[in-house]
C-alpha cells in the first residue's frame, strides 16, 4: 500500500512538472506570442488598454461644446487639490442667469490618476485619456486649462 502511494506521488509530481514545461515550451517555440511593446520605435502603432489612466481631459464635440455644468463635484472629490473650477454667470437671451464654467484648471503635477473626479462627475464631462508622455522642462506647462477657449455648455445639460 505504501509503495503504491509512493509511486503515485512520483508519477503525479512528474506529470504536473511536465505539464508546466509543455506550457513554457509552447511559449518558447512560438515567438508570435511575445507581448513586448518596443516603445519608442512603435510610437505610431502603440496600443494601450482602454482603462489606462494618463491624464484628465474634457471631451469637446464638433461645435466646441462640452457637458460641464460647473457643479465643482470634481473639485470636491479630488483628494489633493488638483482640479480648480472657476465659475461665472452667463446671461441667456431670455435674461436668465445661469452658472457655467469660466476655466477648469487641472494641475497634472499634483494628480495621482485616482479616477475619483471622473466617478464624481454627474454629467460625464471629464474622462481619463491614455496619454503618458507628459515630461516637460517647465513645471508651469503642467498646469492645464481643460475647457477649450470659446467653448460653451451643450444645450440641455443641467
Amino acid at each position: 500500500m505504501f509503495l503504491k502511494e509512493y509511486i503515485t506521488d512520483v508519477v503525479t509530481g512528474v506529470t504536473s512538472l511536465l505539464k508546466g514545461m509543455r506550457k513554457t515550451g509552447y511559449y518558447f517555440t512560438h515567438p508570435k506570442e511575445i507581448i513586448t511593446e518596443q516603445y519608442p520605435d512603435n510610437r505610431a502603432t502603440l496600443l494601450l488598454s482602454d482603462r489606462f489612466k494618463g491624464e484628465v481631459v474634457m471631451p469637446h464635440d464638433a461645435n466646441n461644446e462640452h457637458t460641464c455644468t460647473g457643479c465643482t463635484a470634481c473639485e470636491l472629490a479630488c483628494p489633493n487639490g488638483t482640479i480648480k473650477v472657476v465659475t461665472k454667470f452667463e446671461t441667456s437671451p431670455e435674461g436668465k442667469k445661469k452658472k457655467a464654467i469660466d476655466t477648469l484648471v487641472y494641475r497634472l503635477e499634483l494628480c495621482t490618476m485616482c479616477n475619483l473626479c471622473i466617478v464624481a462627475c454627474p454629467s460625464d464631462a471629464i474622462k481619463m485619456a491614455p496619454n503618458f508622455e507628459h515630461s516637460v522642462f517647465d513645471r508651469t506647462k503642467l498646469t492645464k486649462v481643460l475647457n477649450q477657449p470659446g467653448s460653451k455648455i451643450r444645450e440641455g445639460i443641467e
Binding site: G20, M21, T24, G25, F28, I34, T36
Partner: protein, 358 residues
C-alpha cells in the same frame, strides 16, 4: 574535414621540432591555460546571453535587444560595467577569505575542465579515473561558497551558504549514483573509454529504461548542485537578497556569476558525455548512408550541440518551476531520489551482468 585533433598534433609536432621536450611541454601548458581562460570568458558571455534570451522567450518577452544586433553585445557591456565597478569589502568581513572565495569557486570550475573530451582526441588530461575525479573535485565548490557566506559577516550570506552546503552535500549522492549506472554499464571510469563504448549507440538508448531514469536523476541532482532554480535556495532573491554573494560587488561578484555558468556548462558536458555519447555522432543500427552523413559533422560540433541542448533543458527548468522549500528539498533527495537511484543502480547491475543492454 575540420578536426581539432589535427590542429593539436600539428602544434605539438611544430613545438617539438623547434624546442626541446621540456620547453615544448611548458609552452603547451601555457597554451592550454590561455585557451581554458578564454573559453571561460567566452562561455560566460554566451551563456548569460542565452539564459536571458531563453528566459525572455519563455516569459513571452523579447529579452535584451538594444546593444548590438538582437542584443548580442549586451553581456559584453555588462562585463565591462562590472570590471569598472568598485569591489566593496564590508567593514567587519574576514578580508582574506572574502577575497579568496570567488577564486576557489572559479578554480574548481577550471579543474573540472581537465578530463572533459571536447572532441575526438581533444582532451586536456585523459585521466583513467575521470569520473571519480569529476565527482570528487566538484564537491570542493561547496568550500568556496561556505567561505564566501561566512566571511561576509552578513546573516543572509551565512544562511545562504548553510543552505547551499546542505544541498550540495545531499544531492552529490544521487548525482554520484546516476553517474555510477553508466560506469557499471561501461566498466570504466575513463571518460574517453565511456565515449568509445557509445560508438554503436548512446547509453541513453542502449541502457533501456534504467539509463533514462539515471539521466533524469542526474539532471535533477546537478540542477541542485549548481544552485539553480528550482533549487536556488542558496541565492533565493526573495528571501535572502542574494544568498552567499550578497556582499560581493564588481569583479568578485562577476567571478561568482561566471562560476555558476561554468559549472552548468561542465555538468552538462559531463551529462552529454555519459548519456549522449560526448563527441560521438548519432549512429542508427545498419543505416550506412545515414551514419556516414553523421560522421561528416565534426565531433566538436556534436559535443557542443549536446551540451547546449542540456544547458537549454536546465534553463527551461529554471524558468518553469517554482522554488522548493528547504524541507521539500531534503525530502526530495532523501525520500525520493536516493532510494530510486539505489534501486536503479541495482537494476543496471543486473542488466549489465546478464548482458541485456544492446
Amino acid at each position: 574535414m575540420f578536426s581539432l585533433e589535427g590542429i593539436t598534433t600539428n602544434v605539438q609536432d611544430w613545438l617539438l621540432m623547434k624546442f626541446n621536450p621540456t620547453m615544448a611541454l611548458t609552452i603547451e601548458c601555457v597554451i592550454v591555460i590561455l585557451l581554458s581562460i578564454s573559453l571561460f570568458a567566452l562561455l560566460g558571455l554566451v551563456l548569460v546571453l542565452m539564459e536571458r534570451k531563453v528566459a525572455a522567450h519563455i516569459q513571452i518577452r523579447l529579452g535584451p535587444n538594444r546593444v548590438g544586433p538582437g542584443g548580442m553585445f549586451q553581456t559584453v557591456a555588462d562585463t565591462l560595467k562590472l570590471i569598472m565597478k568598485e569591489g566593496l569589502v564590508p567593514d567587519k568581513a574576514d578580508k582574506f577569505l572574502f577575497n579568496l572565495a570567488p577564486f576557489v569557486v572559479m578554480m574548481v570550475g577550471m579543474l573540472l575542465l581537465a578530463p572533459i573530451a571536447f572532441a575526438k582526441n581533444f582532451q586536456i588530461w585523459d585521466i583513467n579515473i575521470g569520473v571519480l575525479y569529476i565527482s570528487s573535485v566538484s564537491s570542493l565548490s561547496v568550500i568556496g561558497i561556505l567561505m564566501a557566506g561566512w566571511a561576509s559577516n552578513n546573516k543572509y550570506s551565512l544562511l545562504g551558504a548553510m543552505r547551499s552546503g546542505a544541498q550540495i552535500v545531499s544531492y552529490e549522492l544521487s548525482a554520484g549514483f546516476a553517474v555510477l549506472t553508466i560506469v557499471v554499464l561501461t566498466g570504466s571510469l575513463q571518460l574517453s573509454e565511456i565515449v568509445n563504448a557509445q560508438q554503436n549507440g548512446w547509453w541513453i538508448f542502449k541502457g533501456h529504461i534504467p539509463a533514462v531514469i539515471a539521466f533524469v536523476l542526474y539532471i535533477i541532482a546537478v540542477t541542485a548542485e549548481t544552485n539553480r532554480a528550482p533549487f536556488d535556495l542558496a541565492e533565493a532573491e526573495s528571501e535572502l537578497t542574494a544568498g552567499f554573494h550578497t556582499e560581493y560587488s564588481g569583479m568578485r561578484f562577476a567571478l561568482f556569476f561566471l562560476a555558476e555558468y561554468i559549472n552548468i556548462f561542465i555538468v552538462c558536458a559531463i551529462g552529454a558525455t555519459l548519456f549522449f555519447g560526448g563527441w560521438m555522432p548519432l549512429h542508427i543500427g545498419n543505416w550506412e548512408a545515414f551514419n556516414h552523413i553523421m560522421d561528416y559533422i565534426p565531433s566538436s560540433v556534436w559535443f557542443m550541440g549536446k551540451t547546449f541542448f542540456l544547458i537549454f533543458l536546465i534553463m527551461w527548468f529554471r524558468w518553469t518551476f517554482p522554488r522548493l522549500r528547504v524541507d521539500q528539498l531534503l525530502n526530495l533527495e532523501w525520500k525520493y531520489l536516493l532510494p530510486i537511484s539505489l534501486f536503479n543502480l541495482l537494476l543496471v547491475a543486473v542488466i549489465a551482468i546478464l548482458g541485456w543492454h544492446f
